[in-house]
């Protein structure tokens, strides 16, 4: 490895650590959130350095897009005086023992991890790839070898939407009334691009980095941008259609997982002839559903008819 490369890694990781500290402890809440968002951006670069483009894509789409939007929107919903409570001197002192404990833990952790041999399952995945039904190893692991994990994960996401909706319907934030003439134009340009790239990533997922999660995140980013620009959830879409779109991913997953039992009697065992098609169906359903679910998470409450389909 060339010194410039090592130096790049060192600086990247150092700034990540500094930003992480800022993101947690910055005196001003807004500063903390902005630092955390920057931390997310650099994390995506770190994934690229670790030769994990799949994760980098997901992190870029979620970190640069949705997590930031979610945090900023939350910050806007909190009352301003609660944003930046300054740390008292005593509170700062009481942090010290914890800090010492944390450093000791870090050292132990580091010593342990350096001694790990890290054998991994790479070879096994490679040897099973011909029967996987897709060309991309990560997609094969996600949607075939460990598909049960992914099903539960989609359940977690749907559960998060249900959980937020179950908290009541009273916190839909009002959009700022500042004039923003350029915004609709931007969204009109970006929205089709985002939808296009969603499908591009879904298509790519079969043989390269991409797949349902980054694609869903991009779709959600497009929808959220549209909402921010003042678009409204159409009233006829708010009730059952929206709920069905949210539930579609998990339902499709369950139906296919159980449905393939008709052929071989084994849960989630795609019959080899149909494996590519079934995986593609699961991926598309999951991707679109994830997009809608992420948008719902951003909305932070169930859009209701009584509020005129507010944003």
């Amino acid at each position: 490895m060339h010194p410039a490369e090592a130096l790049f890694d060192a600086l990247l990781l150092l700034s990540m650590v500094v930003l992480a500290w800022q993101g947690v402890h910055a005196r001003n809440m807004f500063r903390a959130v902005v630092s955390f968002m920057m931390f997310g951006l650099l994390t995506a670069v770190a994934w690229v350095r670790l030769e994990a483009p799949d994760i980098a894509l997901a992190e870029a789409a979620l970190g640069a897009g949705l997590t930031g939007a979610l945090l900023l929107a939350t910050l806007g919903r909190l009352k301003p005086e609660r944003r930046g409570a300054r740390l008292q001197r005593a509170a700062k002192l009481s942090m010290l023992p914890w800090l010492a404990l944390g450093l000791a833990g870090t050292m132990t952790l580091l010593a342990v991890t350096l001694a790990l041999p890290a054998p991994g399952l790479g070879e096994r995945v490679l040897s099973a790839m011909p029967e996987a039904g897709v060309d991309s190893p990560v997609t094969a692991v996600l949607l075939n070898f460990r598909a049960w994990d992914t099903l539960l994960e989609i359940a977690v996401m749907l559960l998060a939407v249900i959980a937020i909706w179950s908290l009541g319907q009273d916190v839909l934030a009002s959009t700022s009334r500042l004039p923003a003439p350029s915004l609709p134009a931007l969204v009109r340009l970006l929205f089709p691009l985002l939808v296009l790239s969603t499908f591009y990533l879904l298509w790519r997922g079969g043989h390269g980095p991409g797949g349902a999660f980054p694609a869903g995140a991009l779709l959600a980013a497009g929808l959220v941008l549209a909402l921010l620009a003042g678009a409204r959830v159409p009233e006829r879409m708010t009730g059952a259609p929206l709920r069905c779109a949210l539930a579609a991913g998990l339902l499709a997953f369950i139906i296919i997982a159980v449905g393939v039992m008709a052929e071989g009697g084994v849960f989630f065992a795609y019959p080899p002839r149909h494996a590519p098609m079934l995986i593609a169906i699961v991926e598309i359903a999951a991707g679109l559903s994830i997009g809608v679910m992420l948008t719902a998470l951003f909305l932070g409450g169930e859009p209701t008819d009584t509020q005129g389909g507010s944003t």
Partner: protein
């Protein structure tokens, strides 16, 4: 030939990034900083894209680079206008000597 030209473009781009940062740090208020940053950065990224496009020999790739640049131009312009309008609405007055 194109290798050297590309490298020169990239180096130029990096210098424009530096100038943008200098502006961000040294200029006195939001509006001037915005001014320095958005212009310098957009240009800088354009130069880097152009340099890389010279190095690449793949049409799709060059198209993607162009797309990246266009996207950054559009969003940079929109964001500058949004931030400036918001700052004005918040009663931040432009700096005067």
């Amino acid at each position: 030939m194109s290798t050297i030209a590309g490298a020169i473009l990239i180096v130029l781009g990096l210098l424009f990034f530096l100038s943008g940062t200098l502006g961000l740090l040294r200029f006195p208020d939001v509006f001037t900083r915005l001014h320095a940053l958005s212009k310098a950065d957009t240009l800088a990224l354009g130069l880097v894209c152009a340099g890389l496009a010279l190095h690449a020999d793949d049409g799709t790739l060059q198209l993607k680079l162009l797309l990246i640049w266009l996207l950054v131009i559009v969003s940079g312009a929109t964001c500058s206008s949004l931030i400036a309008r918001a700052a004005l609405a918040h009663g931040i007055r432009p700096w005067q000597r």
